[in-house]
């Protein structure tokens, strides 16, 4: 238990600190009311707003771990896959839960293919991930624009509106539920398979992994495919939320936030061991940070600078140097406690001194 907690201690502290600032500003931060049959308030809004970022961050953590680099095409991949989703949905005829599910499967397949493309460049051609994914990053939105048929299609129907909002009778907004489902899927995946072990092994030492019978190429391809599917799911949720496919703006620059979330979670961006709960907390931290700045009414011209200052602060707090300092301090305190304890039980000899 303490071991599991230790990994997320720093990111969690940072997140709680931000939440605390909000509560101090006004305790109404915690208010939750019932709107349209679902819970509404700051906390639900944060969980709702962070959906896409959390899902993409999960995939990004795996890619970072195995490849030692980052995929900067995630927002663009989500834009392409959601464009495909809409076209598939239109092709399937009348919108129903089944046709939405079918279109989602199609868009996930496209996401997997795009992930495979990125993964091939990285794993087989050994191109730096950031450079390899730069290709889609640059060209992708134009591709999505063409898939859209050069318009911004609207998505107005009962099913997708419920997916992006509230299903009648369910008291929690659907995107929040979907986030939990995705996290649960990964938890099960890690439990049942060797995905975590293989990913980390490849990230720590490719040669050693190969000597132990793990094929680094396959593992890298796999994590990129997983990230592609994560992007497809995030794009799907985003387009259901927005009810319009805006190929220019959809999840624009979410890659930067996702990379930041991975880093905030205490993950080394050069790969190796990863801490998925930390990264997820990091993603929520970014969402909370964005909303905190708005809540404090920071003026629009200053908001970027203030955000940057906050991020520097957060990064320093969660940096290895500060962590080891904390560890040392904790060691000292523990040592002292031990000493005083032994002093106490040591008998009357030291008590006089």
């Amino acid at each position: 238990m303490p071991k599991a907690l230790r990994g997320v201690l720093i990111p969690l502290t940072v997140l709680l600190l931000l939440l605390l600032i909000n509560v101090i500003k006004d305790v109404d931060f915690l208010d939750i009311s019932n709107v349209n049959g679902a819970l509404y308030g700051n906390i639900p809004n944060i969980l709702f707003g962070a959906t896409e970022l959390v899902i993409i961050t999960i995939g990004m953590t795996l890619v970072t771990s195995a490849s030692g680099g980052q995929d900067i095409s995630v927002g663009v991949v989500a834009t392409i896959t959601s464009a495909v989703f809409i076209q598939a949905l239109a092709a399937f005829g009348p919108v129903s839960w089944l046709s939405v599910a079918g279109a989602l499967v199609v868009s996930c397949a496209v996401g997997a293919l795009l992930g495979l493309f990125n993964g091939t460049l990285v794993a087989i051609f050994r191109i730096q991930p950031m450079v390899a994914t730069l290709i889609l990053f640059t060209a992708g939105r134009s591709i999505a624009f063409l898939i859209d048929g050069k318009v911004s299609p609207n998505l107005k129907n009962a099913v997708t509106t419920q997916i992006g909002g509230v299903i009648p009778g369910v008291p929690i907004q659907t995107p929040i539920i979907l986030t939990v489902v995705v996290i649960a899927v990964f938890a099960v995946l890690f439990k049942l398979t060797n995905l975590r072990l293989y990913t980390q092994t490849v990230g720590i030492n490719e040669k050693a992994a190969r000597l132990n019978g793990i094929d680094p190429v396959k593992v890298k391809l796999l994590v990129f495919v997983i990230l592609g599917i994560c992007c497809a799911v995030a794009g799907f949720i985003s387009v259901c939320k927005n009810e319009r496919h805006d190929s220019v703006n959809l999840l624009k620059l979410i890659e930067m936030d996702a990379i930041l979330a991975v880093a905030l979670g205490g993950n080394a961006l050069i790969g190796g061991k990863f801490n998925l709960p930390g990264a997820i907390i990091g993603a929520y931290t970014i969402e909370v940070l964005n909303r905190t700045l708005l809540r404090f009414g920071i003026s629009p011209d200053a908001i970027k600078a203030v955000k940057a200052a906050f991020i520097i602060f957060l990064m320093i707090v969660s940096s290895p140097v500060v962590m080891s300092l904390l560890d040392k301090a904790r060691g000292k305190i523990a040592g002292r406690l031990e000493k005083s304890a032994s002093d106490k039980y040591g008998g009357p000899k030291t008590e006089g001194a």
């Binding site: 709107v35 707003g49 620059l253 809540r295």
Partner: protein, 357 residues
Amino acid sequence: MKKVFAIVIVLALVFALAACSGGGGSSAAPADTGSAAPVDEGSGGGASGEAIKVGIVNLPPEESGYRQANVEDMNEVFSAANGYDAKQSNAADNSEQIAAAEGYIRDGVDYLLISAANATGWDGVLASAKEAGVTVFLFDRFIETDESNYQAALVSNTYEEGQTAVDWLLGQGLDAYNVILIRGQIGSAAEIGRSDAVEKADEAGDLTIVADGTGGDTWSDVEARKVVEAAITGGVDFNVIYAENDGMAQGAVKALDAAGISHGKGGDVIIMGFDFNRFALREVQAGNWNYDGQCNPRQASKIAEWIQTIESGEEPPVGTVYLDEIGVDTDSITEDDILERGINEDPGVVESVNEAA
């Protein structure tokens, strides 16, 4: 040995490249007159005998819905069928744009139309255009240069757009106007112009800006939604949302819907957007929004008019010319407004599927 080999290969590549580009450059001029001419005769030449050569330096259509409409409008008006031999290049990068403009001047175009990515760095191009006797028109965006360096500029008056919108708002006869201002990209011409009227009215006490946010550099609907959500959960009292483009207005409306706050005609909150996207105009028509302000991307026909003026030997306008732009509300909007002035297609394949369902 390996090194020598590598050097030889690199040198070979360099020479190959130089040969390619050299060949391309030297053959470009004759090829253009040689190969482009038959294309003209094939399509446009038949229509008017001698096509007017126009070079259009524009931004890429996927930049925004506005640009998309703008690019298509240019293609439509300056078509071969209308007697033009027009080439359009779409680059978001200033140096690429400048290279394209220089190429057009070399090709001997009669007119050069520029919507610059950056306002600076164009003096060299404008000078060589002048030297070559090319008439330059700026559209949509200004260039920081002396007015004598170009013939005329046709742009949107974003200050006027903001003023029209604020005048409309203050004519609504409400007791108080508590406005959530959602700005576009801070510092962009549209943001400065459209914010100006609201800020002035705020200073004059005609309305109150109760929350001041931005959709960021991408005019993001998601960011706009967050601005409104922060206002709602923060207990801010508001009855107007002034979003500086249609996408952000839509994001704001999503936040209201999720919070169960009514909007539009007869609702608690007045929704105002800009740009005249058709999807937005449909929202105004349906009464879900109250107002939309036009930002006219159709400069082509006006510039074509000017070109015809010059061709017929008369004097074209000089300096800055503003486009006609209107604002519509739920009562005044007509189907013609949507079809003629709205930009981009009517939304949605999937919506129509829904209607069928």
